[in-house]
Symmetry: C2
Subunit: 255 residues, 2 copies
């Protein structure tokens, strides 16, 4: 989810998440670690219960000792859906990275539970997470910094608040650095569903932007300091809600 | 390999590589893409043949079209050893990342071929590659930038020219950002062998430094700009040649 998803009116995205987690059978675990707002977890708990989930629990992980304890395992091992709130993604990577809590998130996802994140919570799900960076349409060297994420989505780099914060330049620079990663920018109030068949689907109100660098030329390896990067031949996709895209062939699916 | 490996005297590291690749049966493929020195590939070819390899070929990949062509597949599909030279690791990631050449390197490694790199060629082998950064013993925010590597060594981040270029600060900062990665700094004229059983062994003249952040406290998620990062409780290992270390338990092996 690209952040700022609708929490009050039609709630399409959050409602889709609850349905995919099992609807009336859903057991949701909420990880509010990224957030500095104390009530963030409780607010989502009320929302998910209001949307018909059977159960919703908040998993508080304030430090690495919490994340390495038994509580996250107990709270997440039966979850059918795991939700990571927004906030500061460096809190998620530096507090939860490499702990038992991260392992159980990975394990539940491999076992079929749906794992969703909004804003910071979306960024952490890829193997390479955008930690911080600048905005603007021109790709520049050192424009964005990545650190390791949780690795649920291995060949994709996710950026969020995408159009709203003008992040196309940094996504182009990140893909130019190693085009083995597919760049995916998610607008606010918009989400991407990753299916098990290797396709994605757009849900929500706005668009997602995909940058494929397989046929890209870039001089990024010789640009010094914070200089502008030349990019040529990047393949761009801007997909509206309902559209599906194949991550393997990197093509729009028509259906 | 941490860079600047001995090419003239006892050649312990390069000789070990040839032996592990099959000795007199070895078929070595050399990828000089990182290097700006035209003769780098030919120089290693002469060295590997001089050390008894049966065959050594240079795989020239000047741009993404080369790396997506048939030549790298033909030259690497029977290789028992693949060697990536030093130079500029951003050339490797931005030119070879996501191409058929990268895929065949991954595939041959999965099939049992030994893949080795020195300096830039070592950095590219991990999933998260140090692209560039500053030196010094104090970890600071934005001190180093990582991009996606080739991912042969998934849970480790490798730095090189380690003690010689005073890179402990940036390795600590990189591990603090997400302690799921084990930090590994390789000194010059020194190499790390990754065994299939999940252990590593040090070879060469100097040491490797390992940073384990599993029990680390860090305030990295709240440090602004280029500020200093507080780190507490990092586990440090400095291992000399012949020492073995278990990557799973993160402990020294005594044998």
């Amino acid at each position: 989810m690209g952040g700022a998803e609708d929490k009050f009116d039609d709630k399409v995205i959050l409602s889709t998440f609850v349905q995919l987690a099992g609807g009336r059978e859903a057991k949701i675990a909420i990880v509010p670690t990224a957030s500095s707002i104390e009530s963030a977890g409780e607010r989502y708990k009320a929302l998910f219960l209001g949307l018909g989930a059977n159960e919703a629990q908040v998993v508080y992980l304030a430090d690495r000792a919490d994340a390495d304890g038994d509580a996250p395992i107990e709270l997440m091992q039966d979850a059918t859906g795991i939700f990571l709130t927004g906030g500061n993604q460096m809190r998620l990577s530096s507090i939860v990275g490499g702990t038992r809590a991260m392992q159980i998130v990975r394990q539940r996802n491999a076992e079929g539970a749906i794992v969703a994140g909004t804003s910071a919570g979306a960024s952490i799900l890829s193997s390479h997470m955008v930690a911080f960076g600048a905005s603007g349409p021109t790709p520049r060297q050192r424009m964005a910094t990545t650190v390791a994420g949780f690795g649920l989505v291995p060949d994709v780099i996710v950026d969020q608040h995408f159009r709203q914060r003008d992040r196309i330049g940094r996504l182009l620079a990140l893909v130019a650095a190693n085009p083995s990663l597919l760049g995916m920018g998610i607008d606010e109030d918009t989400a991407v569903l990753f299916d098990h068949d290797g396709s994605v689907e757009v849900v929500g109100r706005n668009s997602i932007t995909i940058v494929d660098g397989a046929h890209m030329y870039s001089d990024i390896f010789q640009v010094k300091g914070h200089g502008n990067i030349t990019i040529s031949g990047a393949t761009l996709h801007v997909l509206t809600p309902g559209r599906r895209f194949d991550l393997g062939t990197r093509q729009l699916l028509d259906d």
